[in-house]
Amino acid sequence: MNLLISLTALGVVAMFGGILKFRSMVMPLSVLGLIGASLLGVYAWNTNQSFLNDMMRMDNYAIAFSIVCMAGTLLTILFFHFFHSENEIHYAEAVALMLFAVAGCAVMVSFTNLLMLFLGIEILSLSLYVLAGLRKKDLLSNESSLKYFLMGAFSTGFLLFGIALLYGATGSFATTQIAYQLGIAGMNGMAAMGLLLLMIGLLFKVAAVPFQFWTPDVYQGAPTIVTAFMATVGKVAAFAAFLRLFQLCFAPSKEGYQLVIGTVAAITMLAGNIMAIYQSSTKRMLAYSSIAHAGYMLIAVMTLNASSNGSILFYSVAYTLASISSFLIVMVVQQNRNNDTADDFNGLGKTNPWIAFALAVSMLSLSGIPATAGFFGKFYVFSSAVSDGFIWVVAVAVISSFISIYYYFRPVIAAYSKQTHDPVMTMPAGTQALLILLSLLTILLGILPGFIAGII
């Protein structure tokens, strides 16, 4: 709870950075604040306290995912600071919106009441709608923002409808009460409808097929740094909320809907990966890849057993590390070469060996090659699905992973085995060091996965 309050206060303070002329302080303040909030989270570890009339509970699950989201936000803010230009008018507001968004994430991952879930999702989504339109003069950015808002509003309707139906069926918004009532009365028509509508709303938020349509357009149109934020922090929080909701409310009756989620997961993985192949823009390719990763993570939601929490957490960390660094590299390439097709990565291994190294590591991790974190992310998710007997889902997942190698390796191959006459890429100071740090973390987690996997 302290974590949440401090995050909100931090957002309010950052909001005034622009108009009260302490803009240069915004980044250090936010970074320190996020670290402080994470420490508050660590301090609250194992306390398992409930707040606001049992509407939220800061258990280890909530704290772990809050910290992951905050770490992602911290990285995004750092990179945003590196790359923002002096005439970026809404710098402070953008940072504030990211902080508000992560506050929303903290609510989403700690709810024990459906209203809080809804509130958290809305805090996150509204911030993201605005962030997507950060470049006011850019038509694509505007389009992205509007599309995201329209489709998001559409899906929110389903979410609310689902909550309302569940309320009708069980007479409560509290997850404990819902689980209790469903345990007594069993799944009736109204509850099942509510469950499915809630699922649809959340599937939209995690961008699973067939609710993925907004993702490529929005991800491509939004400023790259915002895309990185949406694709990592937003997605991780949405998955954490998704899994938490189903663990708390619907775990006993999982036989009924497991196959539905499994089917969606399989279609999502296949479609995401297949559509990614044809993309020439690396940024758009990463958007499709994020759809595919949603498919992999849905497997853990589907299995919904004791190991799901740990495997989704590990997957989130691995995915966040690799995604942020790959979006960042795309940003560097965009700035230097004015485009982000695979050809623009040509000769990166010669001109900027460290950037090429970070690119290779993050792409290997995203495609799940051993000795990177991404491998164990997939391994945990797949193995728990196999042990529950969902072999066909894992088979689809493995096949689609094969497909993904094709497009993930394209920029890496361009970087290492093609020549270029372009000059060495320049980038803000510190970018390279952070990229190397992220790569090393990815490799470290690929060798010693036990650090995170068993924590919750």
Binding site: F16, N113, A169, G171
Partner: protein
């Protein structure tokens, strides 16, 4: 709890019957009114009568054209603060029951609103020029 409403979990279709009646009544009222006004009202179709009514001022040009965003901004900000006042009513009604905790909560709410208001003024959203 504030948000808990006690119902029996095993509600049947019959329990929703009043809602159905209300729904029918509402829809019926709208339909009936629309239908009846067309029959009862006097029919006088002159050119001036068919023109858009704009508080007695003579209408000029097409209404569907873009105009300054400033109007929207002001309007939206007005609605925002207007709606937030609504929260004050239930609090005022239960003022005594909620006691000191209520005052603190509402104070916090107002402070947050004021921060937002401060931000709006400072960022120049209300400057017309």
């Amino acid at each position: 709890m504030l948000l808990e409403i006690k119902t029996s979990a095993t509600s049947t279709a019959v329990d929703y019957f009043p809602i159905v009646i209300q729904f029918v009544f509402a829809a019926g009222f709208v339909a009936t009114t629309m239908f009846v006004t067309h029959i009862l009202g006097p029919h006088l179709k002159t050119k001036k009568k068919l023109k858009a009514f704009e508080s007695g001022i003579k209408s000029v040009g097409n209404a569907r054209q873009p105009f300054a965003i400033k109007y929207f901004l002001t309007a939206i900000l007005f609605v925002l603060f207007d709606v937030e006042v609504i929260f004050l009513y239930p609090w005022a009604v239960n003022f005594l029951d909620l006691g000191m905790g209520g005052i603190i909560t509402m104070g916090l709410f107002m402070v947050l609103l004021l921060i937002g208001f401060f931000y709006i003024i400072k960022s120049g959203a209300l400057d017309w020029e």
